[in-house]
Amino acid sequence: MNETMMILGAWIASGLTLFILSFLYEDNPLFKVAEHLYLGVSVGYSLAFTIFNVWWAKVVLPISVGDFFPVIPSILGLLLVTRLHPKHSWMSRYGFALIMGYASGLAIPATVTTSFLKQVEGTIQPLFRLAGTGAVDWNWGVAISGILLAVGVISTLFYFFFSVEHKGVIKKISRVGIYFLMVYMGASFGTTVMGRFSLLYGRFFDLYTYGTPKYSYASIVMLLVVIAVVAVFVRKGAKNAQENAH
């Protein structure tokens, strides 16, 4: 990448980041521009990539050398588009039938094994192990962790067990399940906060980098532009509100 392109990229990146962040003050035209650009570029990039990497490489090129097998899935795929025309939409069922059959056949056994059987296996942990000599290999950490895991899973399952009324012992057990759920949600919230700060750090780090002389102070200039535009917009909005009030 040559230097001019690098600087231009920095101006665009810092400008669009600040356009998006300007929403934190108030909704404004700069935010709308960045939002629409983001959507447009994402869809355009994905579409172009799909056309050249899939449609061209896996359909057009094989057909051009005499391999006509891709014609069958292509026709089934094109039939899905008939959904747009109510009179002919029945034709899309053939494509959907293939997708549903294939996806279910692939997903059901895999998911049952991975997300259910293996997880059940992982939940049932031994409290202690027997060493080769027959002596008990006791580890307090492993034992406590195993008990906690069993209590957590059973009590949480009780909380989601709606076939009987939650009273008496069942109510008490499901109450314990709620505490485990709260711990999980707390951990999830904590990691989410960390994730959001990481994203913010990433953008700010780029803004700081693009604000250096190497990038012709792109971030600083764009920040001033954003402040000026938002200020004008806010003032105009206030003026309009005043006129409407009169």
Partner: protein, 274 residues
């Protein structure tokens, strides 16, 4: 006092935004080096796995994220690639998220260049293919059935880096960096559990708690969680970079959030007694 607390409880959210900007920006301008990280077993699991692979063996990396998750996943992906190249492993890259194709290519190219590696001999980028479950299933039996050519359009089978590789089962290790679906859950369900190869992941912070059970069952060799995990990996390979630098900002950000939660709850409690 009551009036002041009531005013404080209705604080304009934009003041909080300014505080957030300050705590994140300050350590970028002036690094504080607040945290001393010691690697957690989940991160060390990945490091130890890479260390245990003999030189010249192939590892496959799937970069399943887009620019939206770049700050979290890019540093750990860079650190992992650096480690793999340092260990002289053959690196095969691919991705399941189409908007991340350029990023994935950039990570491989950048780290390979640093290590003086040659494209086609030491590493290759196979690119993106649609329908993750179909891609993974096909790769489990025959990689070339889905990837006949690499991202640059060259014949994959004839490349030196692919020597002796037919399917995922021939890989010494598979590493995935993912921001969601399709991602590691598909790789486990349709890949490692089915075909029996070793797999590890690097995830965003949001997904970390959901993926922990896979670590506990042994379905994952290790887990690099978000920027903190990336910083730990950077420490393990002795190459501090952006993740390490970002830990100050994240630490200060957490302190601010904790302070605001305590302040908010304190105000509510105090107002009850005033």
């Amino acid at each position: 006092m009551k009036r002041f607390l009531e005013k404080l409880s209705k604080l304009d959210r934009r003041i909080i935004f300014v505080l957030v900007v300050f705590v994140v920006m300050f350590p970028i301008i002036k690094p504080l080096n607040l945290q001393k990280l010691s690697p957690t077993p989940a991160v060390k699991g990945i490091y130890d796995m890479v260390e245990s692979i003999p030189e010249g063996q192939p590892v496959i990396i799937s970069f399943d994220f887009d620019p939206g998750s770049k700050p979290e996943l890019y540093p750990m992906a860079v650190a992992f690639c650096r480690h793999a190249f340092k260990r002289n492993l053959r690196v095969i890259g691919m991705n399941l998220w189409v908007p991340g194709t350029g990023l994935a290519d950039d990570i491989l190219t950048k780290t390979a260049k640093e290590a003086g590696k040659v494209y086609g001999k030491d590493y290759v980028f196979m690119g993106w293919q649609p329908q993750a479950s179909a891609v993974i299933t096909q790769m489990g039996t025959d990689i070339y059935g889905i990837y006949a050519k690499d991202q640059r359009g060259s014949d994959l089978r004839s490349m030196e880096v692919m020597k002796g590789i037919k399917s995922l089962k021939d890989m010494a290790f598979m590493m995935e960096f993912g921001a969601g679906t399709p991602g590691i859950e598909e790789w486990i369900a349709y890949g490692s559990d089915k075909f029996g190869f070793k797999i590890g992941t690097g995830s965003t912070a949001v997904n970390e708690t959901t993926l922990r059970p896979y670590l506990q069952t042994g379905q994952l060799v290790g887990l690099i969680g978000a920027m903190k995990g990336a910083a730990e990996y950077e420490a393990l390979i002795n190459h501090p970079d952006t993740a390490t630098a970002g830990m100050d900002a994240i630490g200060m950000g957490h302190m601010l959030i904790l302070g605001l939660i305590l302040l908010g709850n304190g105000i509510v409690i105090a107002l009850k007694f005033l």
